[in-house]
Amino acid sequence: MSGTKPDILWAPHQVDRFVVCDSELSLYHVESTVNSELKAGSLRLSEDSAATLLSINSDTPYMKCVAWYLNYDPECLLAVGQANGRVVLTSLGQDHNSKFKDLIGKEFVPKHARQCNTLAWNPLDSNWLAAGLDKHRADFSVLIWDICSKYTPDIVPMEKVRLSAGETETTLLVTKPLYELGQNDACLSLCWLPRDQKLLLAGMHRNLAIFDLRNTSQKMFVNTKAVQGVTVDPYFHDRVASFYEGQVAIWDLRKFEKPVLTLTEQPKPLTKVAWCPTRTGLLATLTRDSNIIRLYDMQHTPTPIGDETEPTIIERSVQPCDNYIASFAWHPTSQNRMIVVTPNRTMSDFTVFERISLAWSPITSLMWACGRHLYECAEEENDNSLEKDIATKMRLRALSRYGLDTEQVWRNHILAGNEDPQLKSLWYTLHFMKQYTEDMDQKSPGNKGSLVYAGIKSIVKSSLGMVESSRHNWSSLDKQSDIQNLNEERILALQLCGWIKKGMDVDVGPFLNSLVQEGEWERAAAVALFNLDIRRAIQILNEGASSEKGDLNLNVVAMALSGYTDEKNSLWREMCSTLRLQLNNPYLCVMFAFLTSETGSYDGVLYENKVAVRDRVAFACKFLSDSQLNRYIEKLTNEMKEAGNLEGILLTGLTKDGVDLMESYVDRTGDVQTASYCMLQGSPLDVLKDERVQYWIENYRNLLDAWRFWHKRAEFDIHRSKLDPSSKPLAQVFVSCNFCGKSISYSCSTVPHQGRGFSQYGVSGSPTKSKVTSCPGCRKPLPRCALCLINMGTPVSSCPGGSKSDEKVDLSKDKKLAQFNNWFTWCHNCRHGGHAGHMLSWFRDHAECPVSACTCKCMQLDTTGNLVPAETVQP
């Protein structure tokens, strides 16, 4: 071991200790710092661990390699191989009275001095230490020492004895090894094979050799360059890794002729290769001048016989620190933990994580597997710190019956949580559209009703006659502005924008009042101003300033407003047009833009993006000429479509344009719920037939199904079928009489169906004259219930007459709809059945069919059928 490059070793038994060795040996103690502060003098190893230096031993210079005594020893007994080939036993303990006292300082001396390359303690006979040395002529290069040998044998060459300084120390010198192996060769690496204490694997010069100490004259060997760092897999004793330059070879000792596999070559020479002691088949490798430890996860033990497949290797690299790594060591017991040391002796302690596989459940929880453990992680319900994901939002909205309020359509935005201005705009738009469609239909049926849902863009286009503009006087001001005369279409547009209410009354008063009530002072003031009522605007601002929630600055704005002058070059005009840009509120900003604008040029208002679309459109309807208006609406529509901004539905209506806009919205948000409900609000059929709309609906239904919101899905389907009768599914099951073969059904439109395996059947319309328990065709009795043994049947319905036309009578209007308990149900598998109520109560306590000798487990056949709808579980 060169002085510059430290090595690191975990104590094999005291798992909180490790040694760093370069020119000296330093023993450290690792502590967790999770619950405590970093102690003075200790070194941080990781976020939650730190090391304290316990002792330093610099007794053994010229260290080349170090090996920790494998038996438990409180004194940290280490063997150190030196540059002259001597192996010294040393200790880092403080207690000198231990049983190892005699061993400490003991030296094992080879005949000829040369570098000691490697040391290996025998894992079974703890006193045996193998040392691998460089080549020296014909001398042996693998020496196995018994550390307990207490004597210097007689045949010690005389010069050796003379070399040792003094009689007292000779007892500490051992010169006679237990075994001498590898004659005329060099040994670069060694490891004992755990199969047998007498088997030693050695990386010799240009070959790997297995020495059997029972017969030292024989050895098994294979010629290879990969002779460095031989190490045996602790979990699979026939598997051995060795390396050469940048290449790691994996050997199977049962077929030793060639490596079972070689790992992809690395550009730099390897310095260390080590199997993970806590996990099967994980090999860590380190190259020179690198900050990366490469891990090879060998998922399978190679099978040597008759199988040429290589084990799958998952290669990973981990980067424990930013500096180059000098060496690393696996922790002997902590799973996948290792410690690394850099050339300047900074250390870090880290754990190699298992690869995590994960999956989202349809409800927002995440499951992952790390190693052998599973973790489930759910979003906390009551956490408002982050905006909820659309998946969560849609779930909550589905539960609150979002989209299903067809009377007060605007209320849907409240059902959606009243948090999204775009949704608010959308549902108000749809509300107005519905309202005015009904209005139109009442006035002149079949006339313009559909036009309302086509949006302002179409409405404005449809206006035929030229609209004359006229000069209107400002109330309470000596000023005139050009205002378009409002034709029917423009009035409708203004109505849709919400500025004016039903009827031909064009007063914005009620609208202003409602705005003031909601505390939208700035907006109200702007709307008043656009209706040329500056006094009302000022009044509203004053009101706002004096209210609790209002902003006192509104008074200042009101003051500025009251200073309005029509003069072109006034100071007021000049200051307002520059300072207005600094106003934060967009409505205040557009008020001044409006007042300072040149006649007929309203870009400052029309293109202020922060002002709601409906206000800008209403403004445009009031002030722009037909051609200007058309161009403006066209432009704004395209902008909205591109952005997927739901406010734009006001312009596009529920037309193909609207679908385009909704498509961008869905692309952006994934909110198919809003898209589906919006398009089902009153769209003409051709829009509903649009593939995209059908696809959103399908996706939304699929979501509801996945969440087990089956009732919600059914409600949605009912809602949908009102607008799109073609979406109604056909009858799924018919029951025919055993005798005449005719259907015993009188109502084919509403046969309920549930899952696989079970079907129920309800008959409500039985002919007046036939018994409920018999076939209406041939009057023969129907099958008996397996429990009560009474013929099954249906209660008498109030269905008048028995004519064919009654077959299509809507069951929801049928007052005496068959109770579910009376329904006819049977098992698809064994064909036994009975009254639904009886069957349910039977299967509450039993698994098998109630018919004697029938072992069918009717109720368990369908797993999905046993799932409970999630709605009932939800709060």
Partner: protein, 360 residues
């Protein structure tokens, strides 16, 4: 925002895959211990293992559920070079093991000569179909023509990818406008920089799968690939786990513009690329709406990614693999502007939307 809960899995070796059924009430796990376990969620929200059996003679890499309309069906694939289809049987006498369900092997798919690395059921609207991919670079698509008989599967297509395959993902879109499509990732780690993600599309006319796209920019080994649930979007989102997390969008160019019959052309954009894991990314998974992506990396962390309304993707959560929260120091990835959030995107043209104003 998130709290993690430990569940005793009792697998004897590494768990390689976790998979939920359609309703999220059942879960399957598979492991190097060669077994698959099925878990059922009780009403109280706890998971109970209701079946555990040896499925293969090698590590089981992946397990996946079929849509419940085909019954309770699982598919698994393994290092033992096979994939298998399993069905739950009820009604057999298993009174001794109350609360345990019984799964039988319906078929073994033995066409691969190498480890089968992934298995996925096709979207429901395509019928009962199954795709596998293997280390020899072949994607195989099987079909059970009779959904009542799960023991008969016919090999319909073999697609050669030329590279060792590690993962596949079906495009879940059921829109008629989108042809069946499957994306394949390769973890081939040889240094030649070939594109590691290929996308194949079914051609109605030739009745074959042909290569529609190759993501040329992905040249590092790919460990996982996942199409987001389509949810009515006009484009597809594809997440890729390679040396970083990448999110691509594939927008089909409208059919009428392309020559009919040929493969669909796509406008492909990379919308996010995150190297916050600082290492190889192992898995990616989408939530049900395709709006939150979870990824796991060799840093031992699970990260959550979400796009804001401008389609800028950001990290919204980090958890350690052992469920413990990540403390302040390492959570910087949360606040640092990430690479991905600066990439302009097709969807990003929201230049003139009004926002934040209230309407009456």
């Amino acid at each position: 925002m998130f709290v993690a809960r430990h569940i005793a899995a009792d697998h004897k070796d590494l768990i390689h895959d976790v998979s939920f059924d359609f309703h999220g009430r059942r879960m399957a796990t598979c492991s190097s211990d060669q077994s698959v376990k099925v878990w059922d969620k009780s009403e109280s929200g706890d998971w109970h293992c209701t079946a555990s059996w040896k499925t293969h003679s090698g590590s089981v890499w992946r397990v996946t559920w079929a849509h419940p309309e085909f019954g309770q069906v699982l598919a698994s694939c393994s290092f033992d070079r096979t994939a298998a289809v399993w069905e739950e049987i009820v009604g057999e006498s298993n009174d001794k093991l109350r609360g345990q369900s019984h799964w039988v092997k319906r078929t073994t798919l033995v066409d691969s000569r190498t480890s089968v690395t992934d298995v996925k059921f096709a979207p429901k609207h395509m019928g009962l179909m199954l795709a596998t991919c293997s280390a020899d670079g072949i994607v195989r698509i099987y079909e059970a023509p009779d959904v009542m008989n799960l023991s008969q599967w016919s090999l319909q297509h073999e697609i050669s990818c030329k590279l060792s395959c590690s993962c596949i993902s079906w495009n879940p879109s059921s829109s008629r406008a989108h042809s069946p499509m499957i994306a394949v990732g390769s973890d081939d780690s040889s240094p030649n920089a070939m594109a590691k993600v290929q996308i194949f599309e079914y051609n109605e006319n030739t009745r074959k799968y042909t290569k529609a796209e190759t993501l040329m920019t992905v040249t590092d080994p790919v460990h996982d690939i996942a199409f987001a649930p389509n949810l009515g979007r006009s484009f597809h989102i594809l997440a890729i786990a390679t040396k970083d997390v990448r999110i691509f969008t594939l927008k089909p160019v409208r059919k009428e513009l392309t020559s009919s019959g040929g493969p669909t052309k796509f406008e492909i954009h990379i919308v996010a690329q995150f190297d916050n894991h600082n290492s190889q990314v192992w898995r990616v998974s989408w939530n049900i709406t395709g709006t939150v992506l979870a990824s796991s990396g060799d840093d031992g962390c699970v990260r959550l990614w979400k796009a804001n309304y401008m389609d800028n993707w950001k990290c919204t959560g980090i958890l350690k693999g052992n469920g413990s929260p990540v403390n302040g120091n390492s959570q910087q990835g949360n606040s640092n502007p990430s690479l991905g959030s600066n990439i302009p995107n097709l969807q990003n043209s929201l230049n003139g939307s009004s926002s934040g104003r209230k309407h009456s």
